[in-house]
Structures are given as C-alpha cells and as structure tokens.
Amino acid sequence: MTDALVADVLFGAFALGSVITGWRVFRTDSMMRAAFFLLASFAAVGGMLVILGAEFLGMVLILMMAGEMLVMAIVMVMFMMNPAGLNPMWMVHQHRVAVAAGVSSFLAIASLGFLVDFREDPNVQPEMATVELGIELLGDSMLVFQTAGVLLLATMIGAVAIASSRGRFGAAEEGSEEPALDPEDRAAS
C-alpha cells in the first residue's frame, strides 16, 4: 500500500477520532475524562495538520495542548463540584438552542466546501513548510510574531495580577458571598 493511501487512511481515522472525542467531552460526567477526551481530540487535529503538511504547527499544537489540558483538569478538580462525576449530573442549560446552533453552524461551514469552489492551488513542496515558516516568522511577519509574544507576556502578567489573592482593591475575599442557585433566592439578593 502506497504512502498516499496510508496518509488518507490516517487522516480519515484522525478526523473521525477528533470529532468523536470532541463530542464525548460533553457527554461524560467526569471532568477529568472530559479533559482527556479534549486532549485526544486536539492530538488528532495535530495529526491531521501534520498530514496536511504543516508538520511544525501540528507538533506544536500537540506540545501546547499537553500542558494546557493538565492545567484545565487541575482547575476543574479545584473549582467544580463533583469533579470525578461519581454521581450522575446534568449541568446543561438551553439544550435545544445549543444543539440547533451547533448543527446549523456545522451545516453552514460544511456546505461552504460545496457551494464555493476554491482555487485549486495545492502546496507543491510541503517538505519546505517548516523552513518557509521560519523565514516568514523572522522575515516579513516579524512584527506579527513579536506582537504575539508581547501579547502573551501581557497575558501572563495580567493573569497573575487578577488571580492573585491580593488585587488592586485589597484582599479578594473581602465581601465574598456565594449566590444562591434558586431563582427566588436570587431575586431576594
């Protein structure tokens, strides 16, 4: 079997896997499983990027996501009630609307592929992708690249400033209250 065939089969598998795991994220009670499913979905997308020729992007996506998902899992276990999903729960609102929106957005995007006929201009030398990206990063798009870096730095500083226990206006716990879940109590408060 040829390399092209292998690539197609792999791509199909990754596509199926990414969508299924992405769907499972919202179908499991356990926050931890949700995080791991999302990670699997990301890894599959990374695999697809690699097959599409964007080797660097795909690997970087996978690399990024490992740490990100771990943080996400830890945050969920910290803050969410019943993180292990040991007792069944249904933490969902406006379900029908959400389903409708999801399906319609899927149809919209998918139909684009058939309504619009895109320019047939395949990437002729995918093996050069990484080199080109590097030259682009430190060449014409240097400004964009730097901006992204500064943006990330600003995000880090801001995140620490917001999340730290002592904010600009003194200790964050001051006047902290837990709002009630039931509407009538909330109306009262």
Binding site: M78, F79, M81, N82, L86, N87, P88, M89, W90, S165, A171, A172, E173
Partner: protein, 448 residues
C-alpha cells in the same frame, strides 16, 4: 503452556516481595530482612506476595492488618514470626497462617518455602478476611447504584462530597480527611495520624493514642537493644553495652530515615554497619557513611528548615534527647551519672532545631557513643531511676515519645506532606518504648 512453566520456574527464583508488619519487640529484626538477598521488603500490599507479621500486635490493629492482607494480589500467604501469646486473636483471623518461632534464617527459609508451595499449587492462596460488602456498602444503592440520590445530594459511593476549607492562597477548596497509619511504611510502627489534607498540605492533624500502652498484659517481648535501657533503670549495666545499643539504635533510625528520603541503598549500608559496631572498622565506616550523606547537599536541602521548633516550642522539648540537643538544649540524663562524667562525657548540641540538625546530631552521637563504649571498658552505669535512652529521658512511666506526640499537631500543620513525613521521621518517635515505660509504671503501681 511451556511459557507458563518457564515463567513459574523463573518466578520461583525471584526474591520474595514481603510486606513487613512490625509488632512489639520485632522492629529491628524486620529491618534486618532488607539485607537478605532472598527477600525484598516492599512498602505497599499491592507489591507484596507474603505478609510477614512479627511480634504481637494490639487487638485494634486487626482490621487494618486485614485490609493490608486483602490488598495483596493472589497468590498470597501470611507468615507470622514469633507471635507473642497476645497475637492469638489476630492470628486466628487468617485462613492458615504459617507460624515461625525462631531465628531470621528460619523465617527466611519458611517464607521461601511458602512461596514455593504457592507456586507449586500445594498451598491455596490466602482467602480475603474482610467481606467485600463490608468494604463497599454503597454498591447498588440509589437509582444509578451511586450510593445516593440527586445531583450533589445523597452520598455518592457512600461518601459525602468533600468539605471545603480555606487553603493558603485564600481560596476555599476541597479537603481530604484521612487516617494515616498504623502500618504506614514511613511512620514508626503503630503511629496513627488523623490528618486533613488540602492538596499537598496538611491543614490539621491529630496523633491517636499510643496503641502499645494498654495492650493485653502478658509477658511481652522487649526489643533487643531496648531492654538494656530498661534494665539500667533498676540495675547497673555495662556502659559499653548501653552505648553500643545507642549507636545501633541511631543507625537503625538512620536506615529508616534514609529510605524515607528515597535512599534505600544507603539505608542498607547503615544496617550493615550495625553488625560491625564492636569492630575497629566501625568509626571509619560511620564517618564514611556520614560523608556519603553529607556529600550530596540535596538531603540537607530537603531537611533544612523542615519541622523547625520555634523558641516557644523548644522550651517544651525537655527530656527529648537528640531532638532537644539538636535544638541547642543541654539536655542529657547522662550528665547526672558520675561514671559518665568520669569517662569525660561532654554534650554535643546543634543549633537549628530542624530536621537537618537532628540528622547531624544523631550522626555525631553515633561516633561519640562508639568512643565512649571503647573507653568505658567494664565500668557500669549508676542507678538513678532515669536513663538516657537513644530518644531521650526514660523513666518508669514516661518516655520521649509520650512527650513528642503532643507536639506533632503544632509542628505538622501547614507543612506539605513530604515535609511532614520528613519531620516525623526526624523525631524518631518510638511508641513501643513509651508503651513499655507506661506498662512498667502500672505494673509497679499494681505491685505496691
């Protein structure tokens, strides 16, 4: 099939992973098993295939022991080494335990034989002691079998959802209550700690009462090396014997502490040293070991400032032996003994009052004790009604451990678990000694 037979043949030659459970009088004997090539002592039941309980245990340890046993994977067996006449009730809970009365060699051969029988099929794997339902009462309860009802109402899996408590960052997060012990591998035998964790941090903890105090009052075995200090309470004892016992006890502590810090190999070296204390190679050996410990600063790094007594705490350290001396207190019952003074005994003290200081203190005291033992010759100690045991001031009725236990909560709260374990290890709490001392007092009270 052939592969199966080959595997079994190979497995039969492997060092037997044993789960040691130290009862009264057998702590050091069990430590010695680490040197044996035929056995490999392990920390957790999941890794063991033979449960080696030694000495006599209090009744209340029956269920924890049964949990350990049921936690071992099949094929498994129970071997009980020198069960005092008080271990009977616990012994009877197991299907057919092998009882060994005798030396370590006999124990080793018995364990190896038991394992061989397990693999040759002549011995059935030991049946669980506790009924499954007793361990999981929630099974099938509730609409989903989750042991409760509702979203967060009910008690999922028989447990309530976690309570929240403020953590050190001002967030209110879930906490985990947990009773550690009595068989926690890094704890001294019998120590039980009711701790509450918030993540890696111990938010509060409470040591339970010493189980060895009101243990069934038969003729209980006394740990060799400990008995000499109790004899010294009533009769003059050769100082050489006392000091050698002290050095040996410190080295056994060192072995435990080293493996608690992830250095089991060096711990085995410390155990090997306990065998050649009489020889001339002892002092150089100890010095070499100390250098090997000091050489990597990592250990000091992971003990410095850990479990430090503040100025107020130091005042309550009277009679806590090396712990007190490591905190700079001139506290040693040997100063009252004229013979010791004649031998030119002078105090060793450290500053720091933290785990690192205690390590340095005990390492220094090993060398000092060996020197004293050499000088002492045949001289005997005075009988003053109090003895400086390896852990501190020992009298009939009170021992260092009973003074250290109340200090634990103030010391451990707010520490990360790793530091908490390092602290407990560095204090060298010997519940057996304390229990023996208090039983002695009650026996004397009964006599008069």
């Amino acid at each position: 099939m052939v592969l199966r037979r080959l595997l079994t043949r190979l497995a039969a030659g492997a060092p037997v992973p044993v789960l040691p459970v130290a009862g009264l009088g057998m702590r050091d004997a069990l430590r010695e098993l680490r040197i044996r090539p035929e056995l490999r002592p392990v920390d957790v039941p999941a890794a063991a295939s033979v449960l080696v309980a030694a000495g006599s245990l209090p009744e209340e340890f029956g269920d924890p022991l049964a949990l350990l046993h049921d936690g071992m994977p099949h094929p498994r067996a129970v071997v009980w080494w020198n069960p005092g006449n008080s271990a009977g009730p616990l012994l009877r809970r197991f299907a057919d335990p092998t009882v060994v009365d005798g030396s370590a060699d006999e124990l080793v051969s018995a364990v190896v034989r038991v394992r061989r029988e397990l693999y040759s099929g002549h011995r059935p794997s030991s049946e669980p002691v506790l009924a499954e339902t007793g361990r999981a009462p929630w099974e099938g309860v509730g609409p989903y079998g989750q042991g409760g009802s509702g979203m967060t109402g009910g008690v999922p899996y028989g447990r309530p959802l976690a309570e929240v408590a403020p953590d050190r960052d001002g967030l209110r997060l879930d906490v985990v209550p947990l009773t550690v012990g009595p068989f926690f591998p890094q704890f001294p035998p019998g120590l039980r700690l009711e701790a509450t964790f918030s993540g890696d941090v111990v938010v509060d903890c409470l040591p339970l009462v010493n189980p060895f105090v009101d243990i069934a009052h038969h003729a209980l075995p006394v740990r060799p090396g400990l008995d000499v200090f109790f004899r010294a309470l009533f009769e003059p004892v050769p100082i050489a014997e006392l000091e050698l016992a002290r050095a040996r006890d410190h080295l056994v502590w060192l072995a435990d502490a080293l493996s608690a810090h992830g250095l089991p190999a060096l711990g085995v070296r410390a155990l090997r040293l306990t065998h050649e204390l009489e020889g001339t190679a002892a002092v150089p050996g100890v010095r070499r070991l100390s250098r090997a410990i000091e050489w990597s600063q990592v250990l000091r790094w992971s003990t410095r400032g850990v479990g430090r007594f503040d100025a107020a705490g130091r005042t309550s350290l009277g009679g806590c032996g090396p712990v007190a001396r490591a905190a700079g207190l001139p506290d040693d019952a040997r100063m009252e003994d004229a013979t010791y003074r004649a031998l030119g005994f002078e105090l060793i003290v450290q500053d720091g009052a933290d785990a690192a200081a205690r390590w340095r203190q005990r390492l220094a005291e090993v060398v000092q004790s060996l020197a004293l033992a050499k000088r002492a010759g045949a001289q005997r100690s005075e009988v003053t009604g109090q003895v400086e045991s390896p852990r501190g001031l020992l009298t009939a009725g009170s021992a260092p451990a009973s003074r250290l236990l109340p200090l634990l909560p103030g010391l451990l709260e707010g520490l990360e678990w790793g530091d908490a374990v390092a602290t407990i290890v560095s204090l060298d709490i010997d519940l057996e000694e304390a229990g023996l001392a208090e039983r002695l007092a009650s026996a004397q009270a009964g006599a008069t």
